[in-house]
Amino acid sequence: MTWTCDQVEARLSDYFDGLLAGAEKAAFEKHEQECAQCGPLVASVKSLVSEMRAMAQVEVPPRLVYTVLDQTLGPRETVTGWKAFLNFIRGLASPKFAYGAASVMATFVILLGASGFSWRKPKLADLSPTNVYLNADRQIHLGKARAVKYLSDLRVVYEIQSRLRQDQNELQSAPEETRPKPTPEKDPGETDDHSRVPPRQQNRANEMARQLEMLAADWPLICERSHR
């Protein structure tokens, strides 16, 4: 069975409703696959129907119900007491109000958290305006101090890096004779110093010598002070 474009168009909704079966369904699908015009059309209608079925209902203007009631039953009497409260609650039961309330709550929670309120150990005193102010002030100062420390750390790192770079440049631009020369063929761990003194002892001896030199230089001043 071979179908024409007109036949496919005429039975399009039947196909979507699952009313085509057997030879009819096969003929529909064969034509849909082969026809350059009907293929995209079937895809478009299928997408359109699913889109329309998923389209959200439009919110009703709140005044519509009240206007209709006023026009049919006459102006409403003023309700008081628990009925008024129930009417008020009913008026709040709309998705828009729920979203608004949720976003206000989220903002409130974030602000409280930022002001140092502890949700694990909540205290009534934390909610007093003075404490909220003090906590917020503390948090701001802590934040500021952290930011300043971070920036100064960055500065120190930058200075060290630039100093190292400068040293490297100087080393590269220095004349040949001033450059340190590679030591010829050494065993791993071997130094230029051929004395038997271990390196740690040598460092200590150097330090002591430096201190003795300083003492010798300052000795006349120390003697003068002690005489006075």
């Binding site: 895809a43 478009s44 209608v45 299928k46 997408s47 889109e51 389209m55 519509l64």
Partner: protein
């Protein structure tokens, strides 16, 4: 359905709260049918009000044996929408003549308000826009089937035409709508 019939009985006995309950139960559906048909919130609100006033006045003529209250209300809505379409047809013809001439005021008055534009998703907005370009017969059939998701028998009752005609209108409406969307540059997802 039975609850609606019970509320109608209470209304006819003068119970105002039963009428209020009926209005609250059906306002969303009626407003949506009107909005999808006219594509404008203010007009949809006015027609919805008219529908409820008409229903209130003619409540005594409703017979539950002839079908559900919702279907009966949809028939009233449909009749008023068609009346509104015929009433505004002359205005639209004048508008289309005016549109042919480049007059700034008319283009601004036709444009949607920003809140209406924000209300619609991009694709939903294009579908709504295309819907208003369909002929009223095809538009009402597509709205009732694909947006209100009524059964063929209910649509047949609302429109007062045979089931074959209902199916044919829905089919043609969908195809025309898909072609309009293609012309608007909308690709199937």
């Amino acid at each position: 359905m039975e609850q609606d019939a019970h509320l109608v009985q209470q209304c006819l006995q003068g119970d105002g709260s039963a009428w209020e309950e009926l209005v609250r139960r059906h306002s969303r559906r009626i407003f949506n049918v009107c909005y999808r048909f006219v594509g404008n919130r203010t007009e949809a609100e006015d027609i919805s009000q008219e529908v409820f006033l008409r229903v209130y006045k003619t409540l005594g003529s409703y017979r539950s044996a002839h079908g559900g209250f919702a279907t009966w209300m949809t028939s009233v809505t449909r009749n008023l929408l068609i009346d509104h379409y015929r009433r505004t047809k002359r205005d639209r013809l004048t508008d289309s003549l005016d549109d042919a001439m480049p007059v700034v005021e008319n283009k601004e008055s036709v444009a949607r308000r920003p809140d209406e534009q924000a209300l619609l998703g991009e694709l939903s907005g294009q579908v709504e826009s295309a819907l208003t370009k369909l002929s009223p017969e095809l538009r009402e059939a597509v709205i009732l089937r694909d947006l209100q998701q009524l059964e063929y028998a209910e649509i047949q009752q609302v429109l007062g035409v045979p089931e074959g005609t209902v199916k044919s209108r829905i089919n043609r409406g969908r195809i025309e709508l898909a072609r309009l969307l293609q012309q608007m540059g909308v690709r199937p997802s």
